[in-house]
Symmetry: C3
Subunit: 148 residues, 3 copies
C-alpha cells in the first residue's frame, strides 16, 4: 500500500494543503495578537498587567471579528482534514482531487482575508465559505459511496 | 496492510460514521444560519447590511444556544476522529468497534437535537454527552494499552 | 508498510501523546463543569433548572477563563494531530520525533495548568503556548519539505 506516501500525488497534495491550512490558522492567531497589542485590550487580567495602559475587555469589534474568523476555521478546517484523508483512501483521480484541495485552501484563505484582514461587503465571505463547504460535501459523498 | 481499506469492516464503519458526523456538524451551521435569518440578527455589520431590518447583536438566546451546541461538537468530534482512527489501528473486534462508532454517532446526533432543535429538560443533554465521552474514553484506553 | 503500527516507535509515541492530549482536553471540560457546579452558574436555562439557587450567566470570570483555555486547546491540538500524523509519514529520526511529541504534550499540559488551574503571571502562559506552536511549525516545515 503506497497510498500514504509522496509517490501518490493525491496524498502529497493533501499533505501539502493540509499543512498550509495549519499555517493559515496560525496567521489568524497572529492577527488576533496584533489587534490585542495595538489596542492594548486583553482577555485575561494577567495579560493586561504587562502594560500600564492595557485593559481587560471582551467586546472590541475588531478583536471579536478576528476571533469569529478563527472560530469559523475551527468549524471547517478539521472537517477537511478528516474527510480529505478518507477521500484520499477512496483513490480518486489525481487531477480532480488535487484541484479540490487547492480550491479548499484558496477558499479558506479568501474567507480569512475578507473577514479579518480587509473587510469586504457580502457576499464575499459567504461565497468563500460556500466554496469550502462545497468541496467538503463533494468529498464526503465520495467517501460514503466508497465505504458504505 | 489492509487496515485502511473498505475490506476492513472496522475502518469502513469508522469512515462512514466520521463522515456522517461531518454532515451532522454542517446541520448545526445550517441551524445557526436559519435562526439568524429568521430573527435578522447577525454577528458582523456587513451581514446586517444585506437587509434593512437586520441588526448586529451577540446575545440572542436562541442563536447562542445553537452556537453552544456547535462549540460542544468542536470539543468532542475531532477527538473522536483521531482517537477512533488510532483505535482502528489497534485491530479491535469488528462487532465491538462498529457498535461503538454507531453509539457515538447517535449520541452526538441526540446531543444536537435536545440542545438546539427541540430543547429538552436535563438530563437529556447530559446523558447524550456522557455516552459520546464514554465511547471516546474506552477507545482511548484501548489505544494506550496497545501503543504505550 | 509498517509505518502505522506499534513496531514504529515514532508512530507509537504519536498515538500515545495524541491520546493523552485527548484526556488533557477532557480535564478542561471537567474543570468547566466543576466551576459551574461550585458557583451554580450555567449557560442554558434547562441546566439552571436542576437547582433552586442556580442561575444563567455568561460572564463569570472564573468560568470564562476555563473556557478560554479550552478554546485555545481547540485552536492548537487538532493542528498537532494532523501535522503530527503527516510528520510520522515523513519517517523522521525516532529520537527527534518522540521528543517533539513529548515537548508538545508537556507544553499544552502546562498551558492548561497556568491558565485554568493555578493562574500564573505572564510570560508563563505565553511560553507554554510558544513551545507548542514551535513544535508544530517545525513538524509542518518538515512535512512541506517532504511532500511538496
Amino acid at each position: 500500500m503506497e497510498l500514504l506516501t509522496r509517490e501518490n500525488p493525491v496524498f502529497a497534495a493533501y499533505a501539502l494543503y493540509s499543512t498550509l491550512l495549519a499555517f493559515k490558522m496560525f496567521v489568524v492567531t497572529f492577527l488576533t495578537a496584533k489587534q490585542r497589542f495595538k489596542k492594548q485590550i486583553f482577555a485575561s487580567p494577567e495579560d493586561a498587567k504587562m502594560n500600564n495602559k492595557a485593559k481587560v475587555k471582551h467586546d472590541d469589534p475588531d478583536i471579536e471579528r478576528v476571533r469569529r474568523a478563527h472560530l469559523n476555521d475551527l468549524e471547517n478546517i478539521p472537517i477537511f482534514w478528516i474527510v480529505g484523508l478518507l477521500y484520499v483512501l477512496t483513490q480518486p483521480q489525481a487531477i480532480i482531487a488535487v484541484n479540490l484541495f487547492r480550491v479548499f485552501f484558496v477558499a479558506r484563505a479568501m474567507h480569512t482575508f475578507v473577514y479579518a484582514v480587509v473587510v469586504m461587503p457580502q457576499p464575499a465571505r459567504a461565497l468563500s465559505w460556500f466554496a469550502g463547504v462545497g468541496v467538503t460535501i463533494y468529498m464526503a459523498l465520495q467517501v460514503i459511496l466508497h465505504f458504505a
